[in-house]
């Protein structure tokens, strides 16, 4: 089992590199890491440059503006790119039938799902950390060292949301065997989660708030304990989705 897991996750990493998925993710997230502080810093200058005659009083940008940009970029464009790049994670195998050879060699079906999920998670973590590190470095460069309260909780939240998205893509791909099924499942789930957040009482537990909603923590506003329920629900949801994917895959005709 462990050897199969190693062999298959090695294949997954090799695949991300061979299909350029790895490089694109790293490059895009590195770019976001740079763009976030840049946009924060340059917005007043840009507005000044477009001289419309109106005098717009812009407050001097702060480190918090840089982090706001960071969460906005990662939560929107970043997640979209992650989802598109990993939309074929299961369906490419099914539509081509590439798993047949491996499964008939005694490859365990749970190992397939786990290895894929873990490999994708590590790539996503690496991309996210690069983005975070770059943004952090530039923010310090421009605004000096900044006290960040509850850093771990704040920054772990968007990563966890990405994990949920990856698990959703895998479940959708396993059920429908095609890219559109993956994307639809993911999209539908995000719509549902956002709909739930309209209910005030539920929003505390809603993983949808993980994508960018913990920003308040950095500013020092809000209690970390407020976000912990959503984190726990998010982690349980991601794990549950992976288990569900394994169960669906075990019953699937290949």
């Amino acid at each position: 089992m462990i050897r199969q897991f190693q062999a298959l996750s090695k294949k997954e990493f090799y695949e991300s590199a061979a299909t350029f998925r790895l490089y694109i993710l790293l490059a895009v997230f590195l770019l976001f890491g740079m763009l976030s502080p840049l946009i924060a810093k340059a917005t007043p200058d840009l507005l000044a440059a477009i001289d419309t005659g109106m005098v717009i009083e812009m407050p001097e940008p702060t480190a918090l503006d840089s982090w706001t940009q960071f969460f906005k970029n990662v939560a929107q464009m970043g997640m979209i790119i992650l989802v598109i790049l990993y939309s074929g994670i299961m369906s490419n195998e099914f539509s081509k039938g590439t798993l047949v050879n491996l499964l008939t060699k005694g490859l365990s079906r749970s190992v397939v799902i786990l290895a894929k999920f873990v490999a994708a998670s590590i790539v996503w973590l690496a991309s996210y950390l690069i983005c975070l590190g770059t943004c952090w470095a530039y923010t310090i460069y421009f605004w000096g060292s900044v006290e960040i309260s509850n850093a771990f909780l704040t920054f772990a939240a968007p990563w966890l949301f990405g994990e949920i998205l990856i698990a959703l893509l895998m479940l959708g791909g396993t059920i429908f065997s095609n890219v559109y099924g993956s994307l639809f499942t993911c999209f539908a789930a995000v719509v549902v989660l956002n709909a739930i957040s309209l209910i005030p009482k539920a929003s505390r537990y809603n993983p949808a708030s993980l994508a960018g909603g913990t920003l308040a923590l950095i500013a020092g506003a809000g209690e970390p304990s407020q976000f912990i329920p959503a984190m726990v629900v998010g982690a349980v949801l991601a794990a549950g989705l992976v288990v569900a994917t394994i169960e669906v895959f075990k019953r699937k005709r290949v």
Binding site: F20, A27, L38, K41, I81
Partner: protein, 66 residues
């Protein structure tokens, strides 16, 4: 001009990434001739004309399977 110097630490790495993306996309397009849709000329134009997004778009949805 002074204003611009402030942004040098950003501009250089961003330019490097952009050029690296552009170069790898163009080389890939010239060496492979299979696309999920569109043709070689179209993708070359998109990659050259649209900064960053062009090459990313090519690798994400334009590149054909081997």
């Amino acid at each position: 001009m002074e204003e611009l110097f402030k942004y040098i630490p950003f501009l250089i790495p961003i330019a490097v990434i952009q050029l690296a993306l552009l170069a790898s996309a163009v080389v890939h397009i010239l060496r492979h001739n299979s696309f999920r849709f569109g043709n070689r000329l179209m993708w070359l134009i998109i990659c050259v004309a649209v900064n960053i997004i062009g090459p990313v778009l090519y690798f994400v949805i334009g590149k054909g399977d081997d």
